[in-house]
Symmetry: C2
Subunit: 315 residues, 2 copies
């Protein structure tokens, strides 16, 4: 097992720490705020108990996993001997540039330097670094200890061996990496989420559906198949001759819809009042925090279900 | 419980028959081909056993549910005394017009006449009918006995009381209806699926991702939360202050992506060769049928999981 460092111990950093420690790695947890990393470790202890209760710790004891995570006050100490560094500082280009310059100066030359950024291309903050060939983005969906997908995004100068090492590191930790050939705004997942949300906001804006109708159509409809197959396997199984047969039969329906999707609804315009009114009628603002706990419990139960059915029926 | 009729006993018709009979209704199963309805009943018997094994028959005995389904050779006999008619003939406007004229002439005047069409607006085949006020679309996702969502789409002349009666009928049968205020090409679900697929095909066409990368990003990523929350609740919980806070923080990311989504990849063009090659490498054409059986078993297990977790954690 390797030594790893988590840089920035907020919500994303602490979630990565759980994933790495569960995989057997030692994790140095560093944060610019001296109290933040020890506080994060307390939060992590609670999550590990929940994970053990859902059989999501690979049979390990929560205390054993927790013991692999060590808050470290000095950045140089945190980076000593590491093979993988996962950076989780604020989504600000100047901060990313400054942090990566520090990481590149202090980490062992063979360590991979990965950023969790969702919105900044890796080329934007690694170009000037002597060690830019070992830098890339590894973008999770939160929380990564429950959601396997993670996007691996190289800059034009990232060494392909670094991409491969990162892919293997993620797979060994139970992740499902999407390895991009080259960087692109929004990567893959936020582009797909954005495309779906654009149509969802348009439908509500134009009065065809409520926000709840959209959520029903996904959570009681489309996402059931998507949650174990994805959209391409779904259509591959939705025509007798597979995906080619599906495209021949149905593309004209979709190409007729496309011209109707060429305008944006301003998400912050009048549609937002309607979406927010619908959401707040179902979930008052004071209950948002409690509902996030509910979401994570349901995600845990779903992750455990997927593991069981993967074993029983195949993936 | 009501008397219902299924018109057209192919894959969609037989699936509705299961859903209606499970809800306690008597189902007359009619098909223009004399052998089709009796054959469908044999298929249904097998599915009912699987559903019982997954505790998805509301505690009923499969034989009791099967006994509610009767193949009927004569259309007039099939429609005698029915409260709800569900039409499932081929997706062809001339056929829909002819069938609805027959149904309107033969069904009791108070019966609701619903079409399962996914691609034809209800106004296109009901305008000339004396009973057009009782006609509408009820569009399922297959198979409706496992996927609760169903779209209720009125024509401009559909009586609101008919829409409400249909909504209540579906809810009582365990469905989650999306009631549209007015008709629109693609309804709600196929528009959202289409928007997502457009971006998926673009990403593969332009070499940023493989079909498998897209499927991983959805099935191991985005669709996990969507499968119990939908996209609006997902973003509502993804910013401390709820959906308004999310839009204020992140809309600029999505509005920057939007101009990059204004061109279509021709799904049947070179991208289809790549998507098909990826799919066939993972699933040979000869295994498509077996994989459809796998899909339905996983859907059953997921439906059972969702019922359990809805009870344990709330919906």
């Amino acid at each position: 097992m390797a030594r790893t460092a988590i840089i920035g111990s907020g919500f994303i950093g602490r979630a990565w720490a759980i994933s790495f420690a569960r995989a057997g790695h030692d994790v140095a947890l560093w944060d610019r705020e001296p109290e933040a990393a020890p506080a994060a470790r307390g939060y992590i202890a609670g999550v590990l108990g929940d994970l053990a209760g859902n059989d999501l710790l690979n049979g390990a004891d929560p205390a054993t996993v927790l013991a692999r995570i060590t808050p470290v006050a000095d950045l140089g100490d945190a980076l000593a001997g590491v093979a993988h560094v996962q950076e989780n500082t604020p989504e600000n280009l100047d901060i990313k540039r400054a942090v990566f310059a520090e990481l590149d100066a202090l980490a062992p030359p063979e360590a991979v330097l990965a950023s969790s950024t969702s919105a900044i291309l890796p080329s934007a903050f690694t170009e000037a670094l002597p060690g830019r060939a070992r830098c890339l983005v590894v973008h999770p969906i939160n929380p990564p200890y429950l959601i396997p997908a993670a996007e691996v995004v190289p800059a034009p100068w990232t060494d392909p061996a670094v991409v491969e090492r990162t892919r293997a590191f993620l797979v060994a930790a139970g992740h499902a990496p999407l390895v991009m050939q080259r960087e692109l705004d929004g990567f893959i997942m936020n582009r797909m989420q954005g495309a779906l949300l654009e149509e969802a906001f348009r439908l509500v804006d134009e009065g065809y559906a409520t926000a709840e109708d959209v959520d029903i159509g996904i959570r009681e409809g489309l996402a059931l198949r998507w949650s174990f197959m994805g959209p391409f396997e779904t259509i591959d199984l939705n025509a007798p001759g597979g995906v080619r047969d599906y495209v021949i039969r149905y593309q004209s329906i979709y190409s007729n819809l496309f011209p109707q999707m060429q305008h944006r609804a301003d998400w912050a315009g009048p549609v937002l009042d309607r979406v927010e009114a619908d959401r707040r009628a179902r979930l008052p603002e004071a209950d948002l925090g409690g509902r996030q706990v509910w979401r994570d419990r349901r995600l845990m139960a779903l992750a455990a279900h997927k593991r069981r059915t993967d074993k029983e029926f195949g993936k």
